[in-house]
Symmetry: C2
Subunit: 339 residues, 2 copies
């Protein structure tokens, strides 16, 4: 693990104390995520971990992501650890939709000024989400780049490595016309659409009431880990594929798991999006089609299942609902009825 602030510290001379504070602060968080698979300790050049036994044809599944501008809000509103959790959970979901078990995570934190308390909180948030999912935080890089980042700004990115049994991975070729699409509810924006969200936040402030909480609660609600839901779904016979609904909403993300000749039809009257989306639409003057092109609008996962297995899947996923179905491909490929 080489979570070592880069040599810009040494160049600056005065900041070696900051580097030491960061390093010491994150050490226990990182070590708290250690699993039995981890082979190398804090400080080695690469993070090393064993492939768990029992896989006939192991396939590594990995995904890289950032949390985008949600990080600004998290820091501005005093909850940087939330952004760390968001990043890890986003990455968990990206590998878990391929029926992979997440194993190891590596992070990248960069800023123009590196406040130790913020860096440590980010890493602690990542470590907490890693522990919840049995993931080891095996590597990280912290970079200080004053000419790159605006004053007070940070960026945070990470890579998840997971493992899947090849024969158990979802195959878009199995999706058929007439399959059912089950929606798993989102809790809010997750990590997408924060350019618009921040404009709303700037106007209304963190304490504006949204539903039963505040705008801060709604906008900083953690990106959920859907690992348990996806494990349950993949144990259902007739489960086909799952799409993680991130930036670009249903229209961009659902086609990523469909064969080229098929499309999807949703009836948006079948679920209610969290109230924060209404607040953003009102404030930004966006109509429903525009909102659906950016946000998840209440669906965190779209799971495609054979019709005869839909009830079993719904029983396995409390809160999930029938959101649509698979159709022949048309234009647009994803139809949103009832908008």
């Amino acid at each position: 693990m080489s979570q070592s602030p880069n040599d810009a510290y040494a160049a600056a001379g005065v900041d070696l104390d900051v580097a030491a504070q960061v390093k010491e602060g994150i050490r226990s968080a990182v070590e708290s995520t250690r699993t039995s698979l981890v082979q190398a300790g804090f400080g080695s050049f690469g993070g090393a971990f064993s492939i768990p036994p029992g896989y006939r044809e192991p396939v590594l599944v990995s995904s890289v992501d950032g949390v985008g501008t949600k990080l600004h809000l998290a820091i501005e509103w005093g909850r940087p650890e939330a952004a760390g959790r968001d990043l890890v959970n986003h990455c968990i979901d990206d590998v878990a939709v391929l029926n992979a078990r997440p194993l190891a995570f590596l992070d990248y934190v960069a800023s123009g000024e590196l406040e130790p308390a913020i860096v440590v909180a980010l890493v602690e948030g990542m470590a907490a989400a890693c522990r919840s999912a049995g993931v080891a935080l095996i590597g990280g890089e912290t970079a200080l780049m004053p000419d790159t980042y605006r004053a007070g700004a940070y960026d945070l990115a990470g890579t998840m490595i997971g493992i899947a049994e090849r024969s158990a991975m979802p195959d878009p070729a199995r999706v058929q016309r007439g399959d059912v699409i089950v929606g798993v509810p989102s809790v809010g924006l997750h990590t997408n659409g924060y350019s618009l969200a921040r404009r709303t936040a700037a106007t209304l402030g963190p304490d504006y009431r949204v539903g039963e909480g505040t705008l801060a609660d709604a906008l900083l609600a953690p990106h959920p880990s859907y690992l348990a839901e996806l494990e349950a779904a993949f144990s259902v016979e007739g489960m086909r594929v799952a799409a993680h609904i991130t930036g670009g909403g249903l229209e961009e993300n659902v086609p990523r798991v469909l064969p080229s000749h098929l499309g999807a039809r949703f009836d948006v009257r079948g679920w209610v999006a969290p109230p924060v989306f209404d607040v953003i639409a009102d404030q930004q003057g966006l109509d429903a089609p525009a909102m659906y092109r950016v946000f998840n609008m209440g669906i965190g996962l779209a799971i495609v299942v054979a019709p005869e297995s839909a009830d079993e899947l719904l029983d396995a996923l409390p809160g999930a609902f029938v959101a649509g179905g698979i159709t022949e491909r048309a234009d647009p490929r994803v139809v949103l009825a009832g908008l």
Copy 2:
């Protein structure tokens, strides 16, 4: 592969063309790196690849890094693809010192304005370095964050995933007093010390003569991949451990591969650092001890070998030289004689 500019595009409305240009521009670069191990195509949520056969106890070795502020110079001086190569090669070396074969890479590119030509050049540089090493570029994220990045600034980070045979991984416990340290030459700064380098560059300009080339050539010389050298070294009986000399120089990086009771002694009169280091030292008014604390000063890899195997190792690595030896631990732990 989700190399999709994030939804800030959609929010901004007018920039969807930029997103499409970036996506199309990087597609062929990414696809050129495809290896037989790759399982999923461009567009899926996670990059998937098979574990190569033939390992008894496979261990995954991964490393995350950025190229730091070298990226500024590479863009300013019109060679962004060089920064892409640097990043991949840096990460190759970090996993290869653990005797791992690099397999797959994921990148993160972020900026406040995303010029398609620059993003595509960065990805093409990464893809070229990946192809040279047989590495598949299996994932990426491109983020547009105007409030995070300064005008014209980019950041670039990446994660390498490699695989090692557990019994063939170097073990610091095997290092003994009296072992020889062989240096493999660096070509210049590699990716570290660019805060100081950029100050020098700002004063002297890209065309200033350094040795037989220009300052631009010297400062943008690519971080070498030492994969072939490390494979050759690990085939030598008596090879112990290897340290990749990055930020912090010999003093910070060599101890990372030593057992706690040992130290190292170098005699810096045994090699000549590339002339760019003299230029930086002169311009920045830094003495030799200060330079050695920041830069690699001419050694890209420090390889520890049993004394009876030193000649065999030197024969296997043209250009390499005896740089020092392993001692009992003292204070300082790394002694630089002849400074």
